[in-house]
Symmetry: C2
Subunit: 305 residues, 2 copies
């Protein structure tokens, strides 16, 4: 095991790794999203996606692809596709019939700016675009990789993934969930897409061992849950300006959270335990260079927004 | 050219061809839709899809696949995927922020029965499921076919297809569209998915000639537009009980239609002209057996609901 793998990147090292990749993702999204669509729809799609967001899912895709030596063109498309699914879910989540939120990433939400109908359609079109990006039709991505990426993304987005988790979330308002029930909800609602991001990145190469793939999946699962635990903590401790979205919504909406279940200290301890799980999974992967994946796990747990 | 190709099937012959295929599609949808999902979501998905609808898109997929000797397992999955996209679009279309319709296929719409939030999520999950069905992950469909099917479906569903057409439709209420503008809207809104259904069926075989593929695409385009012209006619002349949805909505909503643009007789003449175009395209395909595709074109134009 290399020394590089065991040491943690500091913020500057992480930024040096992230920034060129983020620039690639932004450029690709800008080139691919909402172009030549009917103006209100295309504009709403671009508004929902561009110039905002941590791009955590794309970074996970790219880090996992790097770790296995994945094909960069496939990885960039996969990275953007995960962000489109995430962005569409936020647009629909913010609608009045769901969370009825007016602020996202410090800006008015899509339906506030474009109206509910175009927000609905923009979300729908973003989901379709995600699968379009994964299937370029020009031979630039191997057919087997296209098929694998589409399957992973579809499973993560659908009723056994994100949409299913949101349905459980809706049905859970005001209920006292047990911890296993809360975990299940979050594994679907946010965990599935985060985990799929890791798996999609790892699917951009051929010949990844089953053991490495399993370890990466476990890394993704731990990181996905850690992300949600931290989200619950930030909803309590951060202010709306820092978060870029309305803080304190969970308590206001009487939603079960890790903080309501474990308390603030308990939730923080849980986040640290999940970070340890994620790092241990990376060691089990025996991949030679997982430094970026390690750094992203730290970033997820240490973030303040 | 065979005699069979040139003669038209009567209703009994069409039914004899359709019925076993429709039974396969229903069985497959029932096996695949909303299974093991969180109960309200899974139930809403099944309610939206099962036991209703003409299944025109699946029939087009299966007829086109038959015409080119496509792989039946791929064709069945493609057939179901087009129906899922169609069903999800109806669920979202019926929402209060869109058409605000309460009756569909003679039953309360999904949001009336399950609430707006679960209707929104059910539509989202149905779109994801469409791509999941196209990528079985068990080797039963060739990777190249999976990739091609996903691409065709994504393009037909997104901002350059169905969702784009709906956005134009939204923006066109109360406007006096020219005929090219109206045609463009319908080519996207309903035509793209109908045309894609034909192309997806034809993509279930290898080695289809470019000329045949082009002819089938033209058949799909003509049939897709004919479908919408007839829809506009039926909205005026049929009653809600026959249609299974609210009749007279277009005029009530001040929507531009082929009837408002061409008059009832003009719209009927246009539908017949498009039927001729579709049949001529099938002859150009030089495929040996396009009888089912011919019969479906007649069915689309002659239907009363």
């Amino acid at each position: 095991m290399s020394v590089q793998q065991l040491e943690s990147w500091d913020a500057a090292r992480l930024a040096a790794w992230c920034n060129p990749l983020l620039a690639d993702v932004e450029a690709a999204l800008s080139r691919w999203v909402g172009i030549d669509g009917p103006p209100p729809l295309g504009d709403a799609m671009r508004y929902a996606v561009l110039d905002g967001g941590k791009r955590l899912r794309p970074l996970l895709v790219l880090a996992a692809s790097e770790a296995v030596g994945g094909e960069p063109q496939a990885a960039l498309r996969a990275a953007c596709s995960t962000e489109l699914i995430h962005a569409y879910s936020l647009v629909h989540d913010d609608l009045p019939c769901m969370d009825n939120d007016v602020l996202r990433r410090g800006k008015p939400t899509v339906h506030v700016k474009f109206g509910e109908a175009d927000a609905l359609l923009a979300g729908d079109a973003l989901q379709a675009l995600a699968f379009e990006l994964l299937t370029p039709g020009d031979g630039s991505v191997a057919d087997a990789v296209q098929a694998r990426l589409c399957r992973l993304l579809a499973l993560a987005a659908g009723s056994h993934g994100m949409a299913g988790g949101q349905a459980i979330d809706l049905a859970s308002v005001g209920l006292a969930l047990t911890e296993p029930q809360l975990r299940r909800m979050h594994q679907l609602k946010t965990g599935a897409l985060l985990q799929a991001s890791v798996e999609m990145g790892a699917s951009c190469a051929e010949g990844v061992s089953a053991a490495a793939m399993k370890a990466l999946r476990e890394y993704g699962a731990a990181l996905g849950l850690a992300f949600q635990v931290v989200d619950d903590i930030l909803d309590v401790v951060a202010d709306s300006a820092t978060l870029g979205k309305t803080a304190g919504k969970d308590a206001e909406n009487d939603k079960p959270t890790y903080v309501s279940l474990l308390g603030l200290d308990g939730a923080r301890a849980r986040a640290q335990a999940l970070l340890s799980d994620a790092l241990a999974a990376l060691e089990r992967s025996t991949l030679p260079d997982t430094a970026a994946l390690r750094a992203l796990a730290h970033m997820v747990v240490d973030r303040d927004r």
